[in-house]
């Protein structure tokens, strides 16, 4: 729609620079490492056996998300149809 504000279109934002995006990614990795090893610092009260493992939630989160996306990507080969599929 409208709103083509040239000043906004020209402006450069901090996050536009690939260098800064890389900084965010590195920050996330550092934070992840810190959180992973936080498991050594508190007492766990597991309900089952696996949730008592060191770093269980971190590993679980990473593994299931990667599996989710790759499985969903494969599902596209089965489920995906052209956008006007139901209109034809």
């Amino acid at each position: 729609m409208s709103g083509k504000n040239p000043a906004v279109a020209q402006r450069h934002y901090w996050i536009d620079k690939p260098r800064n995006v890389l900084r965010i990614v590195r920050g996330l990795c550092v934070l992840g490492a810190v959180l992973f090893f936080t498991d050594a610092l508190y007492e766990k009260h597991p309900h089952f056996s696996m949730d008592g493992w060191f770093g269980f939630y971190a590993i679980f989160g990473f593994v299931v998300c990667v599996s989710l996306v790759l499985l969903a990507k494969w599902l596209r080969t089965v489920l995906m149809r052209p956008e006007d599929y139901y209109d034809r």
Binding site: R11, G61, A72
Partner: protein, 565 residues
Amino acid sequence: MTADIHPGLLLLLGGLATPLLPRIARRIYVIALPLVGLWIAWHLDNGNHWALAAFGFELELFRVDRLATIFSTIFLIAAALGNLYAYADDDRLQATAAQVYAGAAISATYTGDLVSLFLFWELTAVASVFLIWARKTERAYRAGLRYLVVQVGSGVLLLCGLAIRAQATGSVAFGPIGLDGAGGVLIFLAFGIKCAFPFLHNWLQDAYPEATVSGAVILSAFTTKLAVYALARGFAGTEMLIWIGAAMAAFPIFYAVIENDLRRVLSYSLNNQLGFMVVGIGIGTELALNGTAAHAFTDILFKALLFMSMGAVLYRTGTANGTDLGGLYKTMPWTAGCCIVGAASISGFPLFSGFISKSMIIAAAAEGHHWIVWSVLLFASAGVFHHSGIKIPYFAFFAHDSGKRPPEAPWSMRTAMGITAALCIAIGIWPAPLYAILPYPVVFDPYTTAHVVNQLQLLLFSALAFTWLMRTGLYPPEMHAVNLDADVIYRRFIPRLTKAFIATFGPLDRTARRALVQSSQNFIVTIERIYGPTALGRTASVSQMVSWIVGLLAIYLALEFLSQP
């Protein structure tokens, strides 16, 4: 003092006056009405207020208890926020439909019998379809029709179920129902359709994204959560619900990952959040049912917030497709910020509302030693962060720059989003007031070290997974496409089968009919050849016909007389 004013009927009947008001008054009226209702709802005494006898049954239109109050409270808040959001969308019909719809849903939470529940159940279906049709496109019209058929169908099942149940037990009271009789099963199915159980779910993802900008916000709050309320009332502790809920929490997230229309992604994630609530109902302990009620409360807010932010994007850019969006944070920072608050809430980040409600259900699953269900819910928590927490804000406001520079949302939308976001954060930081109104006393502390650390680990490593997949290019790109779901059965297979049936039997039928016409013509020709051209064309006068009939009757009488012993 206010014991006789029914907040649901106030909104329903008060809403009927909406179209008569001039524009400015109308806009303020629809925001004030639910707030008045909220004030009344909070001053009601528990108990049955209006009982009346009709259709040979004792009807209870106004039963107030803790479960009814928490649902009517959040429905009234959602109605006020939705109406504020709709301020910019000036549509007389939509404003009226929204009040009737919300009023019917609130009235349904106060019903103490199945007959009145059925009436309000159907009214929510009929009123809400106008929020889809108000989009005024051919697509929306057809999606609305499909939606209406499914919703009214749910009501018909409810009616059959309650009739069978009334026959069997002599009662139409709306309390624990159970799956013992055929009536109970039908009622369960009726609730299941509105609650979007697997294979009965597709009306949701089909219709909500076709609704208007504000219509989707309002729709997201009521229908499905009314079904959650009804299940919690009628089927708490039904074990089958644990498995149904686990399936609901898991399968929609796969669709959410590959879906392009971001409002449809939100519909899938709505379905996934309902799964958590249904698991809670299935477990049926006090902690689990508290978790369900709390999660319904927080979900209505953060899901409305997410629909509001995507609605604002649609309102300003004319599209909600991930493929056509990106980089909008530059000109819509307020909307982007509110969207991120909604995303953090649905993902269950500590200090946001989802954290304090979802964790109750997961804890209840762990305490019940349902380890499979517990793992599925954990998977669903990580998955919801993936598709709602990251994908929605990322593809709309960041990702590749689409070059679109739309202006920020209108002030009314910004205000509605701001208040909703503030509520999401307030509940996350200070859950005590919400815990105080749950159906059972709460002995649960979400902010333990282990829980906070574990949740942060789960979410951060999900974010790392997203980052890794994105940067390596493994993440599936957004595409213009339709993904087949259960609706393919009634949108494709059944019409195809019908067409194939007609294609096969049509010619056969035509041949048979032609042969029949041909043979009767041949017959007429033969008769005429034998008896002359006037044999069949001759007409008889009325007096001739009457004398024939009189003659026949005389013979009949004589025979009757002769056959007497």
